[in-house]
Symmetry: C2
Subunit: 424 residues, 2 copies
Amino acid sequence: MKNENNRHKVVILGSGFAGLYAARNLKNTDVDITIVDRNNHHLFQPLLYQVATGALSPGDIASPVRGILHKYKNIRIMKASATGLDVKHKKLLLENNSVPYDTLIVATGMKNHYFNHDDWESKAPGLKSLSDAVEMRRRLLDAFEAAEIEEDTEKQQTYQTMAVIGAGPTGVEMVGAIAELAHHTLRKDFRTIDPKKTRIVLIEGGERLLPSFHEKLSIKAKRDLQAMGVEVMTQCMVKEMRDDSLLLQTPDGEKVLSVATVIWAAGIKAAGFSEIIKNSTGAEQDRFNRIKVDGNLSIPGFPELLIVGDMACVLRQDGSTVPMVAPAANQEGRYAAKLIRRRLRGKSLKDFDYFDKGSLAVIGRNKAVVEVAGNRFGGIIAWFIWVFIHITFLIGFDNKILVLLQWSWTYFTKNRGARLIIDE
Amino acid sequence: MKNENNRHKVVILGSGFAGLYAARNLKNTDVDITIVDRNNHHLFQPLLYQVATGALSPGDIASPVRGILHKYKNIRIMKASATGLDVKHKKLLLENNSVPYDTLIVATGMKNHYFNHDDWESKAPGLKSLSDAVEMRRRLLDAFEAAEIEEDTEKQQTYQTMAVIGAGPTGVEMVGAIAELAHHTLRKDFRTIDPKKTRIVLIEGGERLLPSFHEKLSIKAKRDLQAMGVEVMTQCMVKEMRDDSLLLQTPDGEKVLSVATVIWAAGIKAAGFSEIIKNSTGAEQDRFNRIKVDGNLSIPGFPELLIVGDMACVLRQDGSTVPMVAPAANQEGRYAAKLIRRRLRGKSLKDFDYFDKGSLAVIGRNKAVVEVAGNRFGGIIAWFIWVFIHITFLIGFDNKILVLLQWSWTYFTKNRGARLIIDE
């Protein structure tokens, strides 16, 4: 392309948290930045489940990357898919052309993972993109619509059953939001069915909810969800997915759950570009297909190739790896930018050190769990912390002040104005 | 279905302006109402072009019908497509079941019409539904993205050319909004292309823009659009649509326009249910396939079948027909409700009389044309009238006060926050 000057060329693949933080920390510096992403927007993934359940609109949690960065003349954006990597000539290959780099920052994140059951995706989609969320909203709302006009009571009950597979933070958030949708928002909307009788099931293979949190909080989350009318099934594995049911393996033997709407929150792995990296560099992957990187986030033997965000498998001193959460992605993005700036001045930078700010997961209105600096608590204070952090983030990114109003409105009215079905 | 009491059963097909006004004017009366619509939302069609050009989000101009009407216990809603009409047994046929009626109100509106060129739809979609608007936004924004990464300057120019066919109010609004998008909103967003150089062409077969308005306003609209950088081609017919160009018949002979993005605003006709009515009742249609109705909006020979909204061809005393505009749909919906209430009390109602409140069309920021009670004017006052009427409507429907804020924000910042591309 048109980078025929001598400035250092940084190419950033992916405009999630990690990629965007890297770009922002290189803005107005003496490098030429090209961001490549197949989408035109940065997506605030932590609130995707709110779009899927009709509390927020797609525009509330996503911003065009061009809009976020248009002030910075040294940043160029290409909406394109990366198809390959030429490490010898230092070029990122796109569908119809290529982009040369001096440093390449890869920040392509994770996708859903169905282990050896890729055919499950159509029955049980996951939640990774805006189109996933719009599709999930369509399925959830259409299930109520189908139940309302169904005359066979058994089929009606199947339509009124919703299952979420996987009880990590995503699954817990999702199931809590569905419970609010069915039991509060829609409660007066139907004449034949009673949305309050909707059966909402959370299916988890392990022994407890939120396995990455302390056991005390797992118990609290379970109790909260049950109080909201969610059936929690632990030690329960999906063996088979059928059109209108799931075959489950439970501690009491096999069981069939009649269910029309199923959501997948049970597994993720690194996006496809991880394979391209492995094949071009010989880099090692972990069990999530994440790329194992050196302490400075570069691929062993390729100092000009940096991996940031969820796709980076970064070893910590205690033997664990940096978790796949937004704060880690932000820190890694910032680190990569700083590393490039230091290198250009002929200096080095000490290895990346993850600062753990704690973890939180939301369960529902006024309910969340927080784990920070050895303190663990739940309830409304945890919920307010969750809201505060998320709103601050959103406003910081794109002045999304209106989202705050939208959110307050939803909170006080329990009304989900965005519960629109947009056709496929 | 479950209407086994003796109350009068009103079935309303379609939840646009006409259908919803009919329902609202029968709420809390002694009739059972069933609304059938294939979508779950009422759509504020006059602002659809703002969604297509990224100024508003789908949720800003559409509301779930269940939400709007959930308070009224005598109203039931079915999300389903009507597939037939059994006039003998008074049943509206759906895909898997049927709904009995005592009075049927048909309000299914219009769809795009390509005359004898149905194959043009994929190249030049029209703007009738939310999914149309989301798709159009995707095409418009993707054209800029494709231009930015295109290295062939000729192809680049083709991507940067956008054409709207048809210069009625819809075409004029659309082309004005595209000009604002290209020349203002996106002006700083790209590095390779200059969005200000986008070629925007309005193609009209007739001699002037806005043929339903006075000639003075046509001239004003043309001048305004040209000042906004729009090329206006009148007396110009599309002869052929090709992948990257249009073959046009102009007064100076044939001409090829290289253009990637084409929008159809040149013709509409009644939705498919008009054919079903014609076949079941023998009703006559006009050239738009609208159903010719009696003075009380019923089909000749079928007093229990009422047609309201754009699909009704209602003759006025001066020999013209009631125009296809929102105020007419509202008045007809209200009239149908009143007629039913009068009939139930054994009374009659004088024929429907359309009260013409005037017409208006918006051209762009601060620019509109208004024609009311013999007065014609344009400019910023016309624009404020347009904004006031539309906002009032929106707020009346669903308390969409946030849209007012969103709109003000867009107005003052010239920023279109909703310019998201959501994948197909």
